[in-house]
Structure formats: structure tokens, C-alpha cells
């Protein structure tokens, strides 16, 4: 068993537990996690060749899920329907990310995306992935957080996974925060949290609150990722399609 792969399952719960002490500590811990992330993404890519990051993602997902199902739901303020919607979104998220990884594995083992192993020179459309340490055709980027090369065939799954993860977190965080905090009616049946002053008096409320704040951090990261995709990769992904369209018009 690789230590790197196990570590996040120990570090993250401990950090979240410490963060329940007071709101200042929560802020400090969130800032520390944020700075750690910034450090990781800013250092040279080949150094990030470790299962640690994928484990971190898994650990975050599992922690937040357990806090929601065992902590927030115990407060008896979530209806079956709301829980069902949350689980449905979560299932979609899991499906798309699973599919993304499965396609990448398949493509890099046998599919057409696999580059020539002994090629002395790189061809125009192939690419050397420093993390997988193989040559890859049609590579978009490598995501260390999913330990997976994102290629043209699985790009759409990556995107759908991010969108659903965003939705799941949004619903989960909103349900969690409106449960532990004093909510107000935003519009119709949509509630938003208003006053979260007294969450630190009880551990049960505090852990839910901290997990929600962590979820808000994730929401922020995912929205940056989605924005980045919108500006960089979606044009790249759809380029052949609109070129085909333009070609049709040219004829």
C-alpha cells in the first residue's frame, strides 16, 4: 500500500475536526488547504506524479458525503425528496468521473489515443505526458486530482462530471448550511443561509458547518475550472466540428 494514497484519508478528517473548534481556526485551516493547493499546482508538473492527489479528491468526496448523510440528515430538516435529488446528482457525478477514467485507461492501453511507444520523434498530434510517462495522441491535459489523462474521447465526460459535481456541491452545501444556520426564503421554496453565529456551540452543527465551508471552497475551485474550460478547451474541443460546418458552407 502506498503511503501517499492513504495519507489524505487521515489528514483531511483531522483537519476538518480541528476546524470545528472555532471560526478563526476554520478560516486558518481553509486558508492552509487553499495555499497547499496553490503550491501543488504551481510547482513543476512532473513532481506531482503521486496518487496523493487522487486520494485527496476521493477523501474529500467521502468526508463531505458522510457528513451530509450522517450529520446533516440527523437534524431532521431535510426532506426525502431533497435527499433523493442530492443522491441522484451525486450518482451522475460518480458515473461521469468513473467513465472518464475508464475511457482514459482503455484508450491509453489499446485505443487510438495511444502514441507510438518507441517513436524517436513526436508527431504533430502526439504529446508526451510527463505524469503518465507515455506518449499520447490528442491529449488535452492531465488532471492530477483525478489521476487521469483527459483526451478528446473522454473530455465530454470530464466536463459533465465537473458540471454535476458543481450541482451536487451546490445542492449539498445549500441544504447543509440552511440546516445548521438560520435560513431565509430567497424565492419560492429556495432557502439561503442567513445567520450562522451559533454553530460552534455544538460539535454536530460545527462539523456540518465546516464540511459545508470546505464544500464552498470546492465550489469555488470547480467554477474556476469550468471557466477555464469555457475559455480554453471548449473552443479547442469544438473546433473540428465548426470547421466541418464551415466547410459545408464553403461547398
Amino acid at each position: 500500500m502506498d503511503l501517499d494514497a492513504v495519507l489524505p484519508f487521515i489528514i483531511l478528517p483531522i483537519l476538518l475536526l480541528i476546524a470545528t473548534l472555532s471560526h478563526i481556526i476554520t478560516i486558518i485551516i481553509m486558508v492552509v488547504i487553499g495555499m497547499g493547493t496553490l503550491y501543488v499546482v504551481s510547482r513543476p508538473r512532473q513532481k506531482n506524479r503521486s496518487p496523493f492527489f487522487f486520494s485527496w479528491t476521493l477523501s474529500s468526496g467521502i468526508c463531505m458525503f458522510l457528513v451530509f448523510e450522517l450529520g446533516v440528515l440527523r437534524l431532521l430538516e431535510i426532506t426525502q425528496l431533497e435527499n433523493f435529488i442530492f443522491l441522484l446528482l451525486l450518482a451522475c457525478t460518480c458515473y461521469f468521473f468513473y467513465k472518464m477514467k475508464a475511457i482514459a485507461d482503455y484508450e491509453l492501453a489499446t485505443g487510438s489515443s495511444k502514441g507510438k511507444v518507441y517513436s524517436p520523434v513526436l508527431t504533430a498530434d502526439s504529446h508526451y505526458c510527463q505524469i503518465c510517462q507515455i506518449e499520447v495522441n490528442e491529449k488535452f491535459f492531465h488532471s492530477i486530482w483525478w489521476d487521469c489523462c483527459v483526451l478528446r474521447p473522454n473530455y465530454i465526460h470530464f466536463l459533465a462530471g465537473q458540471v454535476f459535481a458543481f450541482g451536487t456541491l451546490l445542492v449539498g452545501v445549500n441544504l447543509g448550511l440552511t440546516t445548521v444556520c438560520q435560513p431565509f426564503v430567497f424565492y419560492g421554496t429556495i432557502l439561503l443561509p442567513q445567520d450562522c453565529e451559533d454553530v460552534y456551540y455544538e460539535f454536530e452543527l460545527a462539523i456540518c458547518f465546516v464540511a459545508c465551508i470546505y464544500g464552498v471552497g470546492y465550489l469555488f475551485v470547480i467554477s474556476i475550472v469550468l471557466l477555464h474550460q469555457l475559455l480554453v478547451y471548449i473552443p479547442k474541443y469544438s473546433e473540428p466540428q465548426w470547421r466541418r460546418l464551415v466547410n459545408v458552407l464553403n461547398v
Binding site: R74, E77, T79, Q80, T178, T179, Q182, F184, L191, D198
Partner: protein
């Protein structure tokens, strides 16, 4: 082939177990529930006024318009002051002067140590209740000793005071709850009524069907029938479920108004110290009904003061 079949069954089993665990069949918070339809409320109401109450007015008050009033009160009212000429008598008693009310209600509020909340509550409640054309009086029962807060016993003491004044209907009310809908009439129905079934703090859901705390309306005779509430619950929690157990013993079914009508605002505050014995007490709730309640109520009354907006009963439990 057989192997794949087995795998499928395994996955199906896992999915079913997962669904059962994570859909929590025993956790049934709900946005809606069985309630008395608006048009049927009038016939469910228990119309009786206090024994020694006589109204100088000739015409009977009309409650139809109040029940169909759709407005929502603004909680900012509690920060303001009462309007001039409110005609509220000392002790917090009020009755409409232009018509004869059909209902008399004693509103009983257990209280300790939250002066600001109480002030807001009183101002808000008087503004709210004046609109409803009912005869009412607000009793605030304050626990002056240093033991953990005993909400149920304070309510019993308030109920005893209300019986003495001849009130046929009790509303047992928390000081941090503010009703938002004037259509939520503060009168008793023939069934004990859970009034605060849609509180903002609980995301406007009813956490469980047998919840009978917060704000409830019960007739004096029903309250006597179930021997009031238990006197044993010191600290937060449990006493409302105990009361529900008593209703079950007395074969009284509770009722509610529509969620939209039953909206409440909870004023934020620090959570209280939880009662340690509450789970143990709850297990034997039904057995204690005859020897723990109104008939065993012992306390020392420190003072009773008639303030302009409420009757203040200070007690040492």
C-alpha cells in the same frame, strides 16, 4: 456467464442496501402533512370565552376574513413600539371593543433571562393578536432559581393560573417563536393543535409527525385530562415528546393548520444545556401520566406582577 450473473445480483443488493441506508426511511422530515382545510377551520374551532368575561359589544366578531387573510407580518415589528391607544389592559389582557369575541385564549410563555427577546415577543404578539379579534391574555412564567430550565413545569404553573382566571383555551408558546401569518388564529380547535409546524429555523419542514412543541393550542379541559405536562424535565428537550405520549394515552389526536398558515420565525439564540435524563424519562412517559403533572405540581411563587403588556409570574421550582 454464471459469474457475471452473480456479480449483477451482488451489485443490485449493494444498491438496494445503499438506498435503504441513505434514504433514511425513519427520517421523515416533510414539507406537507395532513391538515385542516381552511374552509373547514371554523367548524373545528372550540368556541368558548372565559367564565367571567363579558363583552360590551352586541355584534359577534367575524373570523372568516381573518382565516383567509394572506398577508405575512413583518418581523421588524418586534424592534418597534406598540401603536398608541392600544387598549391593552394591565396584565396583558385584550379584547376587541367593537364586536363580541368568540374565543378566550391564555397565552403562556415560559421564560428566563432573555429580556430583549421577551420585549420583542410582547410587542410583536400584541400587534399580531390584536388583528385576530380574540380575547386573550399573556402570562409570562419566569424561573428565578438557578436549576436548569424546566419548560414543562413552568407551563403547568401558567396553565394553573389560566384555569383560575377561567380561560377555556391555552396556547403554550415559546418566547423565541413569532407567528408570521395572521390567518393562524390563536384559538383552540377541538383537537389539540400543533401550531408551529413550519419554522424557518427548521427550513420550514416538520421534522417528525409526532412533534408537539414550540407553540401549541390545547383546551383547558384536555390539558386537565392528560394531567398537564411532566414536571421532571430539567434542561432542554424531551418534554414535548412526553406531552405527545400523554395525548396518546388520553386518546387525543393532534391536528394542524396548513404549512403555509403555520409559518413561524425563530429568533436566534444560543443553544441551551441539554437535559441529561430526558431519554430515560421518555421511556416511561406513559406510565407517569397519573403521578407526575398538574396534580403533583409543587413550587413557590415569588411574585405575580401585572405589567402593562403581560402578567409576570415569578416562581422558584
Amino acid at each position: 456467464m454464471r459469474h457475471a450473473y452473480k456479480k449483477k445480483i451482488l451489485y443490485c443488493g449493494l444498491v438496494i442496501v445503499g438506498v435503504i441506508i441513505f434514504l433514511h426511511p425513519n427520517m421523515n422530515a416533510r414539507r406537507t402533512y395532513d391538515f385542516i382545510e381552511k374552509r373547514n377551520i371554523l367548524e373545528h374551532l372550540y368556541d368558548q370565552t372565559a367564565q367571567n368575561f363579558t363583552s360590551p359589544a352586541i355584534l359577534d366578531c367575524d373570523y372568516h376574513d381573518i382565516l383567509f387573510d394572506d398577508t405575512t407580518m413583518s418581523i421588524n415589528l418586534m424592534d418597534g413600539d406598540l401603536i398608541e391607544g392600544h387598549r391593552i389592559k394591565d396584565g396583558g389582557e385584550f379584547h376587541p371593543s367593537d364586536c363580541k369575541p368568540k374565543f378566550s385564549t391564555a397565552i403562556i410563555v415560559p421564560y428566563r433571562d432573555r429580556a430583549e427577546t421577551l420585549r420583542g415577543f410582547l410587542v410583536y404578539m400584541h400587534m399580531f393578536l390584536r388583528r385576530q379579534n380574540i380575547h386573550y391574555r399573556i402570562y409570562v412564567i419566569e424561573q428565578v432559581d438557578m436549576r436548569p430550565f424546566n419548560r414543562a413545569k413552568l407551563l403547568n404553573i401558567g396553565a394553573a393560573a389560566a384555569f383560575k382566571a377561567g380561560y377555556p383555551c391555552l396556547v403554550l408558546h415559546d418566547v423565541d417563536l413569532l407567528p408570521l401569518k395572521p390567518a393562524n388564529l390563536y384559538a383552540c380547535t377541538k383537537c389539540p393543535r400543533h401550531m408551529s409546524s413550519s419554522i424557518n429555523k427548521f427550513r420550514f419542514v416538520l421534522p417528525y409527525l409526532s412533534l408537539f412543541g414550540g407553540a401549541i393550542a390545547i383546551t383547558s379541559s384536555q390539558f386537565k385530562l392528560i394531567n398537564g405536562m411532566s414536571n421532571e424535565y430539567y434542561g432542554w428537550g424531551g418534554e414535548d415528546d412526553d406531552l405527545y405520549a400523554r395525548l396518546e394515552v388520553g386518546e387525543l389526536k393532534l391536528c394542524r393548520f396548513a404549512p403555509d398558515t403555520s409559518r413561524y420565525h425563530m429568533v436566534t439564540h444560543q443553544t441551551q444545556q441539554k437535559g441529561e435524563k430526558r431519554h430515560k424519562l421518555l421511556n416511561y412517559a406513559k406510565n407517569r401520566i397519573n403521578n407526575d403533572g398538574l396534580n403533583t405540581l409543587r413550587y413557590t411563587e415569588v411574585a405575580t406582577v401585572l405589567h402593562p403588556l403581560f402578567t409576570h409570574i415569578m416562581v422558584d421550582l
